[in-house]
C-alpha cells in the first residue's frame, strides 16, 4: 500500500512539476503582467439547467453503467475487480482533472504554435475558476458546470479501456495507468479537437467524441490487449459471463446516460441538443437490430448480449455525428455500426487472435472511427451550419479532414499508450501472477468475493 501510494504520488507530482515549469510560456507571462479581462457574457439558466442534468447523466454512464456492463461479462471471480476498475478510475481521474487535466484540454495556450498541441497550465488546481468564471468555449453556462461536464467525459474515456485489459491487470498498475493516460493522451487529444487545437482548426467534426473518446479508448484497449497478452486459458477454459443481466442493465444505463453525452455536447439547451437526442435514439436502435440480424443469420440465435452490444456500437458511431446529421443519416450510421462492429468484435478478433476481452477495440475504436468517417459523409448544413458533409452538401474535402482526425488520434494514442504501459511495466509490472489470475482477482487483489 505504501509502495502504491509512493508510485501514485511520484507520478502525479513529477508530471505536474514538469508540465507547469517546462512547457508553459503563459505562466511566465502571467507573472509579468495581467491579460486584459474579457467581458463576462450572461449566464443562461435554461442552458445551465440542462448542462447540470447532462453532467449527472454522463457520470451515470460510467458508474454504474459501464461498471455493470463490463462486470456482468467477466467471470464470477473477477466481478468486483472489474466494477472496481470503473469506480477507481472515476475517483483518480476526478482528482487529476481538477489538478491539471482540464487546464491542458480546455484552456487556451498563449503561444499560438503550442495552442495547436496543448492548452495552458493556468488552470492548475482550477485556481482561476472563480464563482462567476465562464469558459469562452461554453459562453452561457458557469465554468464550474462546463469543467465538471467535461470531467465526466474524461472519466468514461479511460474507464472504457478496462474492457480490453479485464481479468489480468494489477489494480495498482491500472490506477497509475489511468492517471498517466488521462494527462498524456486524453487531455491533449481533447484539446486538439475541442480546445482549439490543430484538428479543430482543420475543421474536424466530432460532436461528442467519436475519435476523442471512443476511437481513443478503443485504440488504447487494443494496445493494452497486445502488451498484456491473452488471458490464461483463453480458448481452452470456459470464460462464460457471470451474469448478463448486469450487462443488460449497464448497457441500458449507458443508453440513457448517452443523451447527456450527445445532446449535452450542444452545451446549450437548443435545437441542436434536441436533434442530437433524436438521432442518438434512432441510430442506437438501428444498430442493435442490425447486430441482432447478423448474429441471427450467422450464429443462428439472436443473443441478448449481441442485442445490447449492437446498441452500444450504435451509440458510439452516432456520437461524432449527433450534432450534424438528420434522422435518415442516423438510421444509416446505426445500421452500418451494427454490422461492422459485429464483424469486428466477433470475427476479426478471432482471426487476429488478440484478447480484447470485452471488445473495447471492436466496439469503441471501430465504431468511433466508422462514425467519424460517416459524419463526414452525412453531415448536413441544414442541421448545423458548422458541418458541411460530402453526400448532402457536396463537400468531399470533409472526408479527408475526418481521416486526419481518425489517423491522428489512432497513431498518437497507440504510440503513447504503448510507452506508458512499458514504463509502468518496468517500474511496477502490469500483470498479476498466473496463480492470482487463475484463482481470481477479487480475492487476491481486493480480499473480497461475490458469493
Amino acid at each position: 500500500m505504501v509502495k502504491l501510494a509512493k508510485y501514485l504520488f511520484a507520478t502525479v507530482a513529477a508530471l505536474a512539476v514538469f508540465l507547469i515549469f517546462k512547457l508553459d510560456p503563459a505562466l511566465a507571462q502571467e507573472a509579468a503582467g495581467a491579460a486584459p479581462a474579457a467581458p463576462t457574457p450572461p449566464i443562461n439558466t435554461g442552458d445551465t439547467a440542462w448542462m447540470l442534468t447532462s453532467t449527472a447523466l454522463v457520470l451515470l454512464m460510467t458508474i454504474p453503467g459501464l461498471a455493470l456492463f463490463y462486470g456482468g461479462m467477466v467471470r464470477k471471480k473477477n466481478v468486483l475487480a472489474t466494477v472496481g476498475q470503473a469506480f477507481g478510475a472515476t475517483c483518480i481521474i476526478t482528482v487529476l482533472w481538477m489538478i491539471i487535466g482540464y487546464s491542458i484540454a480546455f484552456t487556451t495556450n498563449d503561444s499560438e504554435s503550442l495552442q495547436k498541441w496543448i492548452g495552458s497550465f493556468k488552470y492548475f488546481m482550477l485556481k482561476p475558476m472563480t464563482i462567476d468564471a465562464v469558459n469562452p468555449l461554453a459562453g452561457s453556462i458557469p465554468e464550474s458546470v462546463y469543467m465538471t461536464f467535461q470531467m465526466t467525459f474524461a472519466i468514461i474515456t479511460p474507464a472504457l479501456i478496462a474492457g480490453s485489459l479485464a481479468d489480468r491487470m494489477k489494480f495498482s498498475s491500472f490506477m497509475v495507468f489511468m492517471g498517466a493516460w488521462l494527462i498524456l493522451v486524453y487531455s491533449p487529444i481533447a484539446h486538439w479537437v475541442w480546445g482549439g487545437g490543430w484538428l479543430g482548426q482543420l475543421g474536424a467534426l466530432d460532436y461528442a467524441g467519436g475519435t476523442v473518446v471512443h476511437l481513443n479508448a478503443g485504440t488504447a484497449g487494443l494496445v493494452c490487449a497486445l502488451v498484456l497478452g491473452p488471458r490464461h486459458g483463453l480458448g481452452k477454459e470456459n470464460m462464460a459471463p457471470y451474469n448478463l443481466v448486469y450487462s443488460v442493465i449497464g448497457a441500458s444505463l449507458l443508453w440513457v446516460g448517452w443523451f447527456g453525452f450527445n445532446a449535452g455536447s450542444a452545451v446549450t439547451a437548443n435545437v441542436n441538443a434536441g436533434m442530437a437526442m433524436a438521432v442518438t435514439q434512432i441510430a442506437t436502435a438501428a444498430a442493435a437490430l442490425a447486430w441482432m440480424v447478423c448474429e441471427w443469420m450467422i450464429a443462428k440465435k439472436p443473443s441478448i448480449l449481441g442485442l445490447v452490444s449492437g446498441a452500444v456500437a450504435g451509440l458510439v458511431a452516432i456520437t461524432p455525428a449527433s450534432g450534424f446529421v438528420n434522422p435518415t443519416g442516423a438510421l444509416i450510421i446505426g445500421i452500418a455500426a451494427g454490422v461492422v462492429c459485429y464483424f469486428a468484435a466477433v470475427h476479426v478478433k478471432k482471426a487476429f487472435g488478440y484478447d480484447d476481452a470485452l471488445d473495447a477495440f471492436g466496439v469503441h475504436a471501430v465504431g468511433g472511427a466508422l462514425g467519424a468517417m460517416m459524419t463526414g459523409m452525412f453531415a448536413s448544413s441544414a442541421i448545423n451550419s458548422a458541418g458541411k458533409g460530402w453526400l448532402i452538401d457536396g463537400n468531399a474535402h470533409q472526408m479527408l479532414i475526418q481521416f486526419y482526425d481518425v489517423a491522428g488520434t489512432f497513431v498518437y494514442c497507440a504510440v503513447m499508450t504503448f510507452i506508458i504501459l512499458k514504463v509502468i511495466d518496468i517500474i511496477m509490472g502490469l500483470r498479476v501472477s498466473q496463480a492470482v489470475e487463475v484463482e481470481g482477482l477479487d480475492i487476491n487483489l481486493h480480499g473480497e468475493v461475490v458469493q
Partner: protein, 112 residues
C-alpha cells in the same frame, strides 16, 4: 427403510413434491446439483466465443421411506418427473440402516 434419491429436471420439482405428499410422505431434502448423463451438455456462444457446458443444472431429491412404500414412491416420482425427452433424470434406491429424530430421540420408522 430405503433412501430414494432422484435426480430430476428442475422445473419438475413441484409436481414430484405434490405426488410424494399425496402418498403421505412427510418430508424431503432437495439440493441444486449439476451433472450429465446421456443428454450430455450444451453449447453457449458469447460474441462468437463458444463454450461447451458439460454439466447441466438438475435437482436432487432425497427422501427416506418405509420399505413397503418404496415401489409406490418410485412410481410416483417417475410419473411426475417424466417428459419423455432425454435428460429426465434417474432414481436410485439404497438401504438405510438407522433413522433418529433429533428432537424426540425416536428411531427408525417412527422417526420418518
Amino acid at each position: 427403510m430405503k433412501l430414494v434419491m432422484a435426480i430430476i429436471k428442475p422445473f419438475k420439482l413441484d409436481e414430484v413434491r405434490q405426488a410424494l405428499t399425496e402418498l403421505g410422505l412427510q418430508g424431503m431434502t432437495v439440493t441444486e446439483v449439476k451433472g450429465y448423463g446421456r443428454q450430455k451438455g450444451h453449447t453457449e456462444i458469447y460474441r462468437g466465443a463458444e463454450y461447451a457446458v458439460n454439466f447441466l443444472p438438475k435437482i436432487k431429491i432425497e427422501v427416506v421411506v418405509p420399505a413397503a412404500v418404496v415401489d409406490r414412491a418410485v412410481d410416483a416420482i417417475v410419473a411426475a418427473a417424466k417428459t419423455g425427452q432425454i435428460g429426465d433424470g434417474k432414481i436410485f434406491v439404497v438401504p438405510v440402516e438407522q433413522t433418529v429424530r433429533i428432537r424426540t430421540g425416536e428411531t427408525n420408522e417412527s422417526a420418518l
